[in-house]
Subunit: 242 residues, 2 copies
DNA sequence: TCCAGCCTACTTCCATGCGAGCTGGTATGC
DNA sequence: GCATACCAGCTCGCATGGAAGTAGGCTGGA
C-alpha cells in the first residue's frame, strides 16, 4: 500500500515504553526541564509520561549507569548536578576519543573533492552561518552536529557510540550556559584549522588542533560553572513540582 | 558492639538482586560460561540465579546497552559474538582513552621515588613474573591489572569508568584466546618502555609507546579471531543448555 | 514429495500488589 | 524551651500474572 514515514528505526514495533521513558527523561535533563540537582520520584515521572512504574524504573537505572542521575534507594531520584571538575574530566575523555577519530580521518588516502571532507566543510559553514546570524542556540546545535560528524565519519562505530554518549553530557553543559558564555569567535577558526589538517592528511597536527580546540572550550566553560554554586548545581528553569 | 566484616560497600543493604544478576551474567559472558553467539532466555537466567525475572530483565537491558548481548524482542537473548572487526574498533577506542591517561600521568611534576611510578613498576614486574612462570592465565590477569592501573592512577575518574567498561571487552577476547596466541614476549618490553617514558615525564612519547603496544596487541589478536568463524563467533566452552 | 497455512509454545514486556526502609514532622518528657 | 523518640507517609525494589507477538512445527492438500 502506501508507505508512511517511519517514526524510528523499524515501524511496526511501536517502541517499548522503557525506551520512550529513557529518551524523554534524558531529553528533559539535557534541556534543563529537569534541573541539575533537583529531586523527583519515579512515580511522578511515570505519571507525566503516561506509563507504569516498571519501564520508568528501567530507564532510570539505565540513566544512572550513564551518570545522568542518581537513584538513592527508597529516597528518590536526584538529577546530576553540573560541576566544573566533572566537566573537566568529560572534556579530557572527549579529547581522547575525538582525537582518535580525527587522526583516523586524517589517515585516509588523499583525494580531491573527497566526499567526507566536503561534508565536514559544510557542517563547519553552518556553524559560521549561525554565528553570523548571532543565533547562539543554533550555533550550539550546529557545533554539536559538527563534532558528532567528526566521530561518525571516522568509520569506527563503537567509537562513535561511546563518544556520542560522553558528548551529550558536554552538550548539556553548553546548552545550559549558552547565554552566559562570551562570544565564541575563535571556535570557527579552530574548526577550520582542524579541517585543514584533516584535508592535509596530517594525523598528528589534526589531533593537536582538536586538542587545542577542546581545551579552549573547557577553559571558557569552567569559570562559568564555578561562578554558580558548585556543590548543588544550579537551575535556570523552574523545577517541576506540584 | 563488635564490627563484622563488610561484604561489599555498605553492610545492611544486602546488594540488590538486579546488581547481582548484572555482575553474574557479565562474569559468565567474560569467562565464556555463556558462549559467544549462544542464545538463552531471561527465564533460564532467572532460574539459575535464583531471582525473579524482573531484576534479570533490568540487568539484561543494561548489558545490552554495554554491548555484551542483544535482546530481540520476544525472541530471546543472544550473547555477543567475538568478531575481529569489533575488536579492532575496541582497541582503537582504548588507544584514545589510555592515551589520555598515560599522557596525563607523564604530565605530572617529576619526583624521585614517586609513589605512583613505583606502583606501576610493581604491576609491571608482576606481569614479568607470571611470564617467567609460564602461567598464561595469570599473565592475562596481571596484564589487565597493569592497564587498569594506568587509567585509575590518571586522576580522571570518569575516564577510568569509561575505559574500564571498554577494557572488559578486550579482556574477554584475550581470556578466550589466551591458549591460542603466540608467546607474548614483546609485551613486557612494551610495558617497560611506557613506564620509562612516564617517569621521563614525556607525554608524547609515552602516548606513542602505549599506542604501539596496543597496535601490536590487536595485530596478534585479529588473525586468531579471523581463523574462527568470524560471523557467529565461536565457543570454547559448552553452551549451557538443558 | 513438497508447499502453504495454521496453531501452539515460548519469549519479552508491562501493570500492579506488597514489602522494607528512610525522612520529616509531631508529640511528649525533662 | 529543647531534645528525643515515635509515627505516618512516601519511596524504591521485587515478584507475579497477564498481554502481545514471533518462530517453528504440524497438518492438510496438491
Amino acid at each position: 500500500m502506501t508507505a508512511s514515514v517511519e517514526t524510528s528505526a523499524i515501524v511496526g514495533t511501536p517502541a517499548p515504553h522503557a525506551e520512550i521513558a529513557y529518551e524523554q527523561i534524558k531529553a528533559a535533563i539535557i534541556s534543563g526541564a529537569l534541573a541539575p540537582g533537583s529531586r523527583v520520584s519515579e512515580q511522578q515521572l511515570a505519571e507525566q509520561l503516561n506509563v507504569s512504574r516498571t519501564p520508568v524504573h528501567q530507564a532510570v537505572v539505565r540513566l544512572q549507569n550513564e551518570e545522568w542521575l542518581e537513584v538513592s534507594s527508597r529516597r528518590g531520584v536526584t538529577i546530576a548536578p553540573l560541576r566544573a571538575d566533572e566537566m573537566r574530566e568529560i572534556y579530557e575523555v572527549l579529547i581522547g576519543l575525538e582525537g582518535v577519530a580525527v587522526a583516523s580521518l586524517a589517515s585516509r588516502e588523499p583525494a580531491a573533492d573527497d566526499e567526507v571532507d566536503l561534508e565536514l566543510q559544510d557542517a563547519c559553514s553552518r556553524c559560521e552561518l549561525a554565528l553570523e546570524e548571532k543565533n547562539l542556540r543554533r550555533w550550539a546545535a550546529e557545533d554539536d552536529r559538527f563534532h558528532r560528524l567528526l566521530i561518525e565519519r571516522s568509520g569506527n562505530s563503537r567509537l562513535a557510540r561511546v563518544a556520542a554518549s560522553v558528548m551529550e553530557h558536554a552538550h548539556r553543559a553548553r546548552l545550559l550556559t549558552v547565554n552566559l558564555r562570551p562570544w565564541p569567535s575563535a571556535s570557527n577558526e579552530d574548526h577550520a584549522r582542524i579541517l585543514q589538517e584533516i584535508s592535509n592528511r596530517d594525523p598528528l597536527r589534526a589531533r593537536t588542533a582538536l586538542e587545542d580546540h577542546r581545551r579552549r572550550g573547557i577553559a571558557t566553560l569552567v569559570p562559568i560553572l564555578e561562578a554558580y554554586s558548585p556543590q548543588s548545581g544550579f537551575a535556570f528553569m523552574p523545577i517541576q513540582q506540584r
